[in-house]
Symmetry: C2
Subunit: 242 residues, 2 copies
């Protein structure tokens, strides 16, 4: 088992709509086969133009109710992104996104937005976003890399946020050890590891929130494969916690 | 921002009660100041003798009910470790441990147990376990390291397990960016990052389940400080998800 390196991709410019993340990242460091390139959702969304101006948003009655006296336009944008409101404590909401992710504000975020009065939405299809970046890197470098689009999620039962994978390309997001036996001969019945989430968390440690490092490369793993970040969404009927 | 290295601690023997994890790890690689040594709960528990034999366990009526026809002694051991049963679907239970962690089986585990018919319990006080290992490493090497005791937890809403921190020493488990401003001048209101959990997840990527690598070193972070893994437990009144 070799060691793992988590390398920040430094020196990326402020990202705007139409920017070519695959090219920008490829220029900043020498990628190699099996690297996993982790890109923060925020810059993916910016490159894809997933920005909404609050100006001109007409809040619905529900948005005004959920806002509890705060900016109801913000809640309106969240409602438009949400498939379902899971919990609310005005003005906070936990929502299920159309992708199936359960997270604060349906992933709608004002921090690191390009300017005041704008909100950043999640990519429409983060797996596709990852696939586009992966394809472009492959085209430019000839390297077979994995790509993870990461976002910071809160967790029930635990404080603080951690980065998880909301889009993947070229990797299997779950490592399934079921049916294998441990060193004592005991079958590992329920050991399915969310490696894509662990990769996103490892990358966050060098990306930080303020350092302006929106991408990192995790090198030394062999997780190449196929899959979708939707595999990381727990089907409600299997969710034993709730 | 320098790169991060995640180094597996290879060649550790099978751990048994009384083994000196701090010494064993110190012998396997050259530690440096600010390293974070991540040790899997399983070997910490084994070193501390937190093993129960099923033989002789008398299951209560509640254990028999929760077992749903499976081994009720196993459920009895879980009940004894649990402060509260959060959910059950026999024979599966989600329980809150005495430490406050909400996890499957109150952390009681048969996989990687020393022999058939035994179960491994969580350490009584994982922060103290981490502090003892940290102190021993400091004594032997003169290095000021952090220590994380990690365990694999399932998550509501997401499939697969990830490693999280259940005990820490010498590090601040949460990085609190609240009140700071991002590059666009927007205040980062809710950005408290569970770095100890991200460190545990990063380490898991090289520890694996079958490779027999129960410890790893995360090098290149500066997270030294003070704190307890109990800070990672969400107080119920702040748990917006449930």
């Amino acid at each position: 088992m070799p060691e793992l390196r988590v390398i920040p991709v430094e020196g990326l410019p402020e990202i705007a709509k139409g920017d070519d993340l695959g090219e920008l990242i490829s220029q900043k460091l020498e990628l190699v086969d099996a690297d996993v390139v982790v890109v923060s959702q925020k810059v993916v969304s910016k490159a894809e133009g997933r920005i909404v101006r609050l100006e001109g948003v007409e809040p619905s009655a529900r948005a005004i109710e959920l806002a509890g006296g705060h900016d109801a336009r913000h809640l309106e944008v969240i409602l438009r992104e949400a498939a379902r409101i899971v919990r609310s404590r005005p003005p906070l909401v936990i929502a299920e996104t159309r992708h199936g992710f359960v997270c604060a504000s349906a992933g709608v975020d004002a921090s690191n937005a390009p300017e005041a009065g704008t909100l950043v939405l999640l990519p429409v299809d983060p797996d596709k976003s990852a696939t586009v970046i992966r394809g472009r890197i492959g085209q430019l470098t000839g390297c077979d890399v994995g790509v993870v689009v990461s976002d910071s999620f809160g967790r029930p039962f635990r404080t603080g946020i951690v980065d998880v994978a909301i889009g993947v390309a070229g990797i299997a997001p779950l490592a399934d050890w079921r049916g294998q036996v441990d060193s004592a001969g005991h079958e590992l019945r329920s050991t399915v590891i969310a490696v894509a989430d662990e990769i996103a968390s490892a990358a966050e440690l060098v990306m930080g929130k303020l350092a302006g490092v929106p991408a990192a490369v995790v090198r030394g793993l062999e997780v190449r494969g196929r899959g979708s970040a939707r595999e990381l969404v727990m089907p409600p009927e299997r969710n034993l916690f709730i």
